[in-house]
């Protein structure tokens, strides 16, 4: 319980450094607001992409809407996701204990799981659905790892259905189970009949629920639905995995110890490690095939690695006991554990502060968007780069041209290319042609865009573009 509160308070400390949310957080905010206001999910979004159909499972948003009735929306969007993800420490503790049956080590790993940089910083202020998905997925692994009682089966069924109904990431869990089965078969390792049955149940139920929810997407995109209609320009950069960045974000020692634990588990034919290995292999496979957003894949991977690293730490402790340096045992343990902790906590705090300073809209930005909200017609369209789409719709309350909710959005690749062209071109006529194509009334130029493309030249024509704000960001009204 202490570990849970430590992790929760650390998260809340960073989350409350700013009153605002990250871009993605504003999409969640709008979905939740709509449920609170109308009782219904927002399946047709009039503001996103100038009006488009939205296809998603609203369960998570209903949960947040329920809490927002008690706590208020702004508190809910920061507190509830933080509580959800902090619950992961209990799950990791349970999993670790099942693997090595060592209370102290399990507690240590549970504490560390709360400070994995990629999860700590990545789910801090965006009310991400993954704050619910990640603990749920690992809870299912925890239930599955040595399932034998009716009560556990009932829980597995309920949470398996819940996970499938909340998010398509549930397919990752099913894929992990299939890989676990294949790994076991290939290593001539007998898994229990009950586990086989649960795998079959999970695969079919998840598959069915996903098809029911995303029927329209499957019909429209076919198998390409797995790429989520992400613009090709973004997909091509999906696996530009920078190794140093990976080590920082997952934690150097957890990566090393985790992989060592997996290899050890497979060599020693430990069933529990086979399961986690199956999960890791399926994530790596999806990452390699560019079928999953690297941020999401690495988040799941990091938890799986930190859980398997418990075996390495346990083996290390037993080994030291057998060596001739038992007098230095304590010093060695303290050193290892401190290094392990530092490799996670320091990058976590560093990335969290960096994340807040870089990804959160500034006070001035919010002021401008608030001004646009109050001083322009309700149906105007604001051109903004991809990373600002949800802020435009939620704070300014106006239509955007693009945002990162790609599934079922129209011509995502074309729009991505056109927006890139608008900001980078020196030709006013080319920019105007595209501005008219998307019925743009206001052009929003944040500092990130200016740093990427340089000064937007065509805004110099004051007869066509009336400057409203000239700081960072700049806003122009289109008069042509």
């Amino acid at each position: 319980m202490v570990i849970f509160f430590v992790v929760l308070f650390a998260r809340l400390y960073f989350a409350y450094q700013t009153p605002y949310l990250e871009n993605e957080g504003y999409l969640v905010q709008r979905y939740v607001e709509n449920i609170v206001d109308t009782g219904k999910p927002l399946f047709y979004d009039t503001l996103s992409y100038n009006g488009r159909e939205a296809l998603y499972s609203p369960i998570y948003h209903y949960i947040l809407a329920f809490f927002s009735l008690i706590l208020g929306l702004s508190l809910t969007l920061k507190l509830i996701p933080s509580i959800f993800i902090s619950l992961l420490v209990f799950v990791v503790y349970g999993l670790s204990k099942k693997i090595i049956n060592n209370d102290t080590l399990a507690l240590f790993i549970a504490l560390m799981s709360g400070f994995i940089p990629i999860i700590f910083a990545g789910t801090l202020i965006n009310a991400s659905i993954y704050t619910l998905i990640i603990p749920l997925t690992f809870y299912l692994l925890y239930l599955f790892i040595d399932i034998d009682k009716d009560k556990q089966i009932g829980r597995f069924v309920v949470f398996s259905l819940l996970l499938a109904a909340v998010h398509p990431s549930s397919m990752l869990f099913s894929l992990g189970l299939i890989t676990y089965y294949l790994l076991s078969v290939s290593e001539n390792f007998k898994i229990s009949k009950l586990k086989e049955e649960l795998i079959v149940f999970n695969v079919f139920s998840t598959f069915f629920i996903q098809f029911v929810i995303f029927k329209k997407a499957f019909l429209s995109y076919g198998l390409s639905v797995i790429w989520n209609n992400v613009p090709i320009q973004i997909i091509s950069s999906y696996f530009e995995l920078d190794l140093i960045g990976l080590i920082y974000r997952v934690g150097a020692l957890s990566l090393l110890f985790g992989l060592w634990g997996i290899i050890g588990g497979i060599v020693k034919k430990k069933d529990k490690l086979f399961l986690i290995s199956g999960f890791i292999v399926s994530i790596l496979l999806l990452l390699w095939l560019r079928l999953i957003d690297p941020r999401i894949g690495l988040s799941f991977l990091s938890i799986a690695l930190i859980t398997s690293s418990v075996l390495t730490l346990n083996d290390l402790l037993s080994y030291i006991q057998k060596t001739k340096i038992p007098s230095h045992r304590m010093a060695f343990i303290i050193l290892t554990f401190s290094l392990f902790g530092l490799s996670l906590a320091v990058p976590s705090f560093y990335f969290a502060s960096q994340h807040i300073s870089q990804n959160i809209p500034s006070d001035y930005e919010m002021l401008i968007l608030d001004w646009v909200n109050k001083n322009s017609l309700p149906d105007v369209t604001i051109l903004a780069p991809l990373g600002k789409g949800h802020i435009i719709t939620a704070v300014a309350g106006k239509r955007n041209v693009i945002d990162n909710n790609f599934l079922f959005a129209p011509d995502t690749s074309q729009r991505f290319e056109d927006i890139d062209k608008i900001y980078s071109t020196k030709s006013e006529s080319e920019a105007l042609k595209l501005i008219q194509k998307y019925n743009v009334d206001y052009v929003f130029i944040p500092i990130e865009t200016e740093l990427q493309y340089g000064k937007v030249r065509w805004t110099d024509d004051t007869s066509c573009f009336e400057g409203l704000f000239f700081g960072t960001p700049k806003v122009y009204k289109v008069n042509c």
Binding site: G154, L194, F201, F204, F207, F208, F218
Partner: protein, 424 residues
Amino acid sequence: MEHQKYIKLIAKIAILLLAASFLLLPGIIREENTLIGDKPYHHLSLADKELNFSSIKNELSFGWSFILRYISVKTALFVLGLASALLLFLNLEMMKLNQRLLAAGLFVLSPAFIYMFNVGDKVGIAFAVSLIISYLIIKERYKTSIPLFILLPFLDVLISIFVLIAAGLYFIYLKTSKSLFYYVLLLFILGISLFGEWNFEFISDLGAFIGISVFALVFALFCFILLWREFLPLYGILLIMILLSLKFEFGIFYLSAFISILLSLCISKVYDRKWESELIRNLTILFIFCGLLFSGISYANRLSQEMPNESLFKALEILPEGSVVFSDIGYGNWIKYSGKESVWDTSGFLDKAKERELNSIIDSKDAFITRQILSKYKVDYVLIDSNLMEKWNERGIFYLLDYDYKGFRQIYDQDGVIIWRHFK
């Protein structure tokens, strides 16, 4: 004995009721009072004409059009649908009653069945006749089956070739050596691979207009892992059927029927296996059924929203008989059915050069070239509806229709359908 007879009768009635409900479902939920798709209109416009053997195009497989002279499409499809479900049930005499019932039920739920007997395509009747042939062969009433073998090419040439080959293979398997059977089978597989074009869109849940259920396929694959030793020959046939479906559209209908049989065997095996948890067994079977049912219902819903709509025929009614209308290639059969001439050849034999030329009009903003092509094909009218507005969004033809006052004049604009008069 008496008791068993009653059970069989109830089983047959159950199949007929299930089939009837899925035959009526798309019609009930369809808002338009028109037939689904363009195929039935092709056959109906042929049914109105006198038979003429001067050209090979229209007379190939004229049997269905001939029948439609005397029976309405909807009645014919309903009767054929019921008959096919029952015939499949009767064909499976070697299986247990519950497996036969399940197989026929699963077939009725399949998107292929819903397509065959809700869209007035010729394939429905050809499929039903092929089931009668197979029933007669199983019952060893070979002579009775001969007239049907002769009739089949008039309904669908490709299906008749397939049935002939399948019957041949059956006889070779029964009467001669096994090695000859495998040689002929290999030859058949080679033949499939060589002819026709590959089409990998054969799963209806993933967007194919005619396809099989994704749940059926996934469950069949799952059963392969579980029961491959027992059902290896059946999976061999499944593979050949999939290959056939990737090459020929009609293969999908036979694949669906075969998968239904395979699934019925698998489900009964899976259900009868000893499970550690009964809860898991029941839930898994429930999800499989829900998946198969979902595929069928969602396909019926999709089919019910298919073109054409009444407003299209209402618009075509105002045009003089025999006038030539230019529209999308998919609209040819509807234009012909309403007594006008379409620039597109709707018999399925496409003239690639003509197609290229006519398609170039859609993109062109050059009034001279567009008018020249339209005049070449004696086009009197251009028809565009809301679907085409979306499909041809912002393409050249709209520019000309709006601004070339000398070449075009709008004469009709109602319920989303617009017609322009073309001045030659």
